[in-house]
Symmetry: D2
Amino acid sequence: MTTNSFGHLFRVTTWGESHGPAIGATVDGCPPGVPVDEAFLQQWLDKRKPGQSKFTTQRREADEVRILSGVFEGQTTGMPVQLLIENTDQRSKDYSEIAEKFRPGHADITYWQKYGIRDYRGGGRSSARETASRVAAGGLARAALKVLAPEVEITGYMTRVGVHEIDRARFDAEEIGRNPFWGPDAEMAALWADYLDGLRKSGNSVGAVVEIVAKGVPAGLGAPVYSKLDTDLAAAMMSINAVKGVEIGEGMAAAMLTGEENADEIFMGNDGKPVYSSNHAGGILGGISTGQDLVVRFAVKPTSSILKPRQTITKTGEAAEIVTKGRHDPCVGIRAVPVGEAMMACVILDHMLLHRGQVGDNRGRIG
Amino acid sequence: MTTNSFGHLFRVTTWGESHGPAIGATVDGCPPGVPVDEAFLQQWLDKRKPGQSKFTTQRREADEVRILSGVFEGQTTGMPVQLLIENTDQRSKDYSEIAEKFRPGHADITYWQKYGIRDYRGGGRSSARETASRVAAGGLARAALKVLAPEVEITGYMTRVGVHEIDRARFDAEEIGRNPFWGPDAEMAALWADYLDGLRKSGNSVGAVVEIVAKGVPAGLGAPVYSKLDTDLAAAMMSINAVKGVEIGEGMAAAMLTGEENADEIFMGNDGKPVYSSNHAGGILGGISTGQDLVVRFAVKPTSSILKPRQTITKTGEAAEIVTKGRHDPCVGIRAVPVGEAMMACVILDHMLLHRGQVGDNRGRIG
Amino acid sequence: MTTNSFGHLFRVTTWGESHGPAIGATVDGCPPGVPVDEAFLQQWLDKRKPGQSKFTTQRREADEVRILSGVFEGQTTGMPVQLLIENTDQRSKDYSEIAEKFRPGHADITYWQKYGIRDYRGGGRSSARETASRVAAGGLARAALKVLAPEVEITGYMTRVGVHEIDRARFDAEEIGRNPFWGPDAEMAALWADYLDGLRKSGNSVGAVVEIVAKGVPAGLGAPVYSKLDTDLAAAMMSINAVKGVEIGEGMAAAMLTGEENADEIFMGNDGKPVYSSNHAGGILGGISTGQDLVVRFAVKPTSSILKPRQTITKTGEAAEIVTKGRHDPCVGIRAVPVGEAMMACVILDHMLLHRGQVGDNRGRIG
Amino acid sequence: MTTNSFGHLFRVTTWGESHGPAIGATVDGCPPGVPVDEAFLQQWLDKRKPGQSKFTTQRREADEVRILSGVFEGQTTGMPVQLLIENTDQRSKDYSEIAEKFRPGHADITYWQKYGIRDYRGGGRSSARETASRVAAGGLARAALKVLAPEVEITGYMTRVGVHEIDRARFDAEEIGRNPFWGPDAEMAALWADYLDGLRKSGNSVGAVVEIVAKGVPAGLGAPVYSKLDTDLAAAMMSINAVKGVEIGEGMAAAMLTGEENADEIFMGNDGKPVYSSNHAGGILGGISTGQDLVVRFAVKPTSSILKPRQTITKTGEAAEIVTKGRHDPCVGIRAVPVGEAMMACVILDHMLLHRGQVGDNRGRIG
C-alpha cells in the first residue's frame, strides 16, 4: 500500500529527490539467475540522461547507477535489488524564488497544500529526475525479459511535438536513434528541431505524444478485471510526470469506429497461432494480451517551468508574477521516451510473473 | 495482490459471472457510522440497469442489490460490506455458438488462451454485467462521501457517439437526465437517437466518449509517485470494459499546447482559497488535487457482439464466419456513464481515507 | 490493504457477521482448472460445524456452503470464487444484555472503542462464526493442492486441554477422528471428556493447544524476509479468534536448546533428497520449507462468554456484574482444529503459487 | 506483494546482504513534519551494533546510518525515506567452507533449494545483519510516535537464556541497560554471563526469550480479522531471524487457564478510561488494543554457526562434517532485543495511521 511503488510481483519502489544526495529504486521480486551488471543498466540511463542536446535540460548528471544488493557473481539472487544514482549537479541556488511562489501548472502548490513541508529544490520529489530511477528499474526488467521472453522487443518514439505530428507513411524504425527526439520520421524531426529551437529561445515549452510498442509479447498476459494489462499500462504511463492522457491501440479514436470497423478479424497463422487482420485493439482484449504488438500512447504536457511571465500567488497568498529561470526541458516529452519504454518493460515482466504464478502456463490451445 | 480488487483503503473486490447465480462486490474499508441502506444503493443501479431504452441491451435484470454484511441498524460498522445482486434473466441458449467461435474484438479468445477454461455464457466474467457490482460499490462510496465531504458532486455524461460530438456551447447540465444517452446537449441527443437507431437496425454498434466531473473535491488528495490521483483514476477508468483511452483535463490535446498556454494561472480567491484562470490540468497537479473540478474522460470502443458477419476461427483453429445474435448494446458507452461515476466516487473516497491516514489533515495553508 | 484479507496470490477475504443474513469468503487467485464442487467443500465445514457434541456450542447451523462464482462445469475458471453460507439459527434475544455490558476477555469493549458502532448480536464480526468462511476457503485451497501437490497431507489435532496434555508416546493418528476433541491420545481424550463435562456444568470454560502438521510439502516454499513461510503461518494462526501464541517446530522451547542440540543434522536420502536427523526446525529454515513436516502449534484461550459472574462496566461507564448465558463453547479450541487446518492449506497453496510466480521452479539441485 | 516489505501505511522494505556494499531500508508512508536526523536513528543502531561485548559477534561494524531521501531541513516530507548503512567489515574469506557445505539449522540449504543462486558470504540476505535495517526503520517509527503518540514507551528485555529464566519478583527496569543482555534481573544477568562464557568457550550457542512491552498505546488500534494488531505483531516478530515462537500476553500458557481465570475484569478508572484487574490479554482483545500494556514475547533459537562438529552434506550431495569458524553470536537473542523493539514501534505506528485512515478518530466513548 505504498504510494511510491508499482507492480505486483516485480515491484519497484522509487525514492529520492531532485537535489538530495541520491535517488534510486528498490526492486523486489526480480527472479533469480538473471545475468545483469551496471553496464547493462547504464545504457538505458544514458538514453534518458539530461544535457545530451540543446532540446533537453542543461543540468549535467552522470546518472551512474550502482547495484548495491541482490546481484551476486553477475546474476540476480532473488533478493531485493537496490539501484542507486548519486545526484552530482545540484545548483540549489537556482530555485530560491520557487520556495516562495508557486509555478502555475506545477506540483509546487499541491505538494504544499498536501504536506505543508515541501522540498522546493528543483521540485524535490515531483521533479522528472525521479524517472531516472524508473529507467534503472526498467533496465533490470529488460535483463529479466531477455531470459524469460527473449523475443520481446520494446521501442518508444515520439509521434507529435505540439501541433506537428509524424506522417506514418514515412515511419522508419532506423531513424528513431538518429535524431535527438526519438522521432521515426526524419522530415518531421528536422521540422521539430526548428520549432523547438524557436520555443527554447523564447523561453517557452511545448507538449508531445510518445508511443511505445512491444513486439513478441505472448498471448495470455493480463487479468480480469482491475489488474488488466491495459489498466496496469495506463496506470504506469499516467504515473510519469506531466502525462495527461493514455491510449491503447485506437485509443480515444475508438469512439469513432463502428463495431464492424473495430473488430480485428481472426485467422489461423501458419505457425499455429492466430493472426489478425488489423490491430485496433493495440494487442489487448478483455485486459489480456492477444499476442499482437502492444501499442500504448501517452500525451506529455509542456514543462511548466518557463521564462514567460505568469500570474501566481506566494505561500502567504499574495499575488505575484513568476518567471522560472533554472535549467528546464523545452519539451520534456523527449526524455519521456526511455521512461515509457522502462514502464512497458516493467509491466510486461510483472504480468509474465503474475501469469505463471496464478495460472502456471498458457493453458488454452487453439487447434 | 488480487486482480479483481481496486482501491487502497476503500477496497472493492467484484466477483461473479454474467450467467452465474449472482454477482456482487465485497467492499472492505468503508468507514463506520455511514448511514446507508439498499434503497440508496438501488438508485445508482437503476441508472445502469439494462433494458431501459431501445439503445441498450434488451436483457431484463431487476438488478436488486442486497446488503449481506457490514451494515447494522442503518449504519456501516467498519466491517466488510457484501453487496449481492442475483442474476435473474440468463438465457444461456443464446450463447451456444460463442462456445466454439471467438468473437473478433472480444475477450473470448484471450480468456481461452490464458485460462483454458472459459465461461462462455454471456461472456462470463468479461461481460459488462460485472459493472453492476461496481455501481453498487460506488453507491456505498457516495454514501460515505455524503458524510466525509458532502460538497463533492459527481456527474457523468456522454460527449461523443461515433463521429458525433456535443457542442460545448450548448452544454446544459439539466439536459443530462432527460435523454437516454446522458447527453448534455439536447440537439446532439436527438441526432444520436436517429444515428443509433440506424446502427441498431443494421446490426452494428459504435463507440463513445464519456466525461466524468467531480466538483467540490478538496485540494491535497493524491500521492507521489505511483498512486497519484490521476494514476488511480486512469486505472479505474481503463479497467471498465471496452475502454481504450483515458484523459485528465486537456488529455491528449495537452500535447498541442505551449507551456504558456497550458499554465493555469493562480489567484487568491475571496474565501482564502486559490482560484485558477483555467483548468487545463483537470484539477490535478503532480498527482494531487488542486481543489478545482476533477475532469476525466474515456473512450469506449463499440460492442464487439454484432450482427454483421466477421471472419474468425474456432477453438479447433478452423476458419469460420461469426454473427452474434444475443441481446447486446448498440452503444455500450451509454451504460458506462454511471459506471464511470461509480469509479470516480470510489477513487475520491479512497484518496480521502488515504490522505487522512498518511498525512492526517490538510497541512499546508496559503496566506 | 484490506484488513479482512489474507494471502498473496491465493487471496481470501471473509465477510459477514454472526447474526447477519449470511457469511462467506471471496477468494481471488485460485488457479483455473481445479475440479471442485460444493460437496467437496462441505466435508470440511461439517468438521467445524457447531452442535456436534455437548462440548461445543449448541447453536444449530447447517453451514451449507454455496459456490456463487468462479466455478464452471465442475472446474475453477481462474475468476474469483464466492463462497456463501447462510445464517439460519440466529437467536438474537440471547444477546440483549451484551448490548450494554462488556464481557471481560471479549472483543466487545475494543470494537466499541474503535468503531463506536458495534453489532452486538452474537459478537457480530468478532464471533468465531467467521471461521466457517475460513474453512470453506481452506476447502478450496485443498482442492487446488490435490492438483498442484497431491502428496501434501494436512492434519490437525488437539495436544492440550487446560492442564491436561497428551502423551506423545500414545500418539495414534487413527484416534484423531474417533473422539469429539480431535485428540490423538485415546486415554487423554477420555480424561478431557470428564474434565470438560465438569467445566461445562459449572458454566466455566478452558483453553487448549492445537497442532497442525503438513506432510509432503516441497522444499523451497517461503521467502525472505517478511513473507517467510513461518511469518505467514504465524499470522494465519494468530488471526484465528482467541489464539494467543504460535509456535513453529520447537517453538518457545527452542530458547532452552543449545546450538548443538538444535541443529537438525543433514544426510542424503536414497531418493536423492536430503533427510534430517530431527525436526527441531518444524520444517522451516530461514523462512523457507526444508521438505520436512511443517509443524505449527497454537494456544487458544478459554471462551470469555461464561456463566461465572465477572465484574465489568456498561457503555455508560457504570460498574456491573456480568453472566453470559447464550450458547457457547466450553472449549473453543476444539473447533479451532479444522480452522487451523484450513489456514495451513491456504498458506501452503499461496506459497506454491508465489514460488512459481517469483522463481519459476525449484532451482537448486543437490547432488 | 513484495516479500521483503512489511506494514500497511508505514511500509518498510529492507534490502541488502551481509557482505554486499551496503544494506538499508526504504520506508514509504512516514507522515510529513516529523523531526528526525541521523543522530536520532543512530542511538538505536548503537544498541544493536555487534562487537559490544564478548557475548555478541566480534564483527566490527560502525553501523552508521545515512538518510538519503525524504527528510528536508530536519523534518520528514512525506516522501520515501531511504536509510543506508554501509558494510565495512566483510571478511569474506571466513566463509569459504560454507559455499560448499550446508550448516545444519541454517538457511543455507533452503536458499539453495529455492533459488539455485546463493550469496554464501556471511549468510547473504539470511544473515542477522539484515536486522540493522529494521532498527533504522524502527528509529524512524519512534520519531513519528514522538509526535503522534508521545506517551508510547517501548521497552524490550531478555527473560530467558537457555534454561535460565528471570525471576519476575526481581524485575528492575533500571537494570535493563546495565548488563550486556538487556536483562531486568541483576542476579540472573550475572548467572547468564558465566553460563554464556562457558558456552562461548566450548564453541556452542544457546537460545533465548525476549519480551517487548509497549506502554501508553491508545485503545482502538488493530482491525478484524486478518490485520489484527496481534496478527501483525506475531508476523513482525516471527519474521526476525531465528524466532520460532511468539506469544501475546499469557501466550501458550493461556491454554491452561479457565475462562474465569483468564477474564481480565473491567472497572472504570478515575480518568474516565477503563482499567483492568489483570492483563492476561497482553493488551489486545479481538485483535484491537485495550489501552493496557502491549506484551509480546518471542523465542530465539540458538545460532546454528557453531564450532561443535555436525553432520551435513555438500552441494553435490556428499556426506560431510562441518565446523563453522567465522565470528558468531553465542546467543543471538541478545541483539534481538533492539530488533524486537523496532518491530513493535513500526507496528504501533502503522496501526495508528491505519486507524486514522479507516476510522478517523477513536469513536466509541465509554461513560
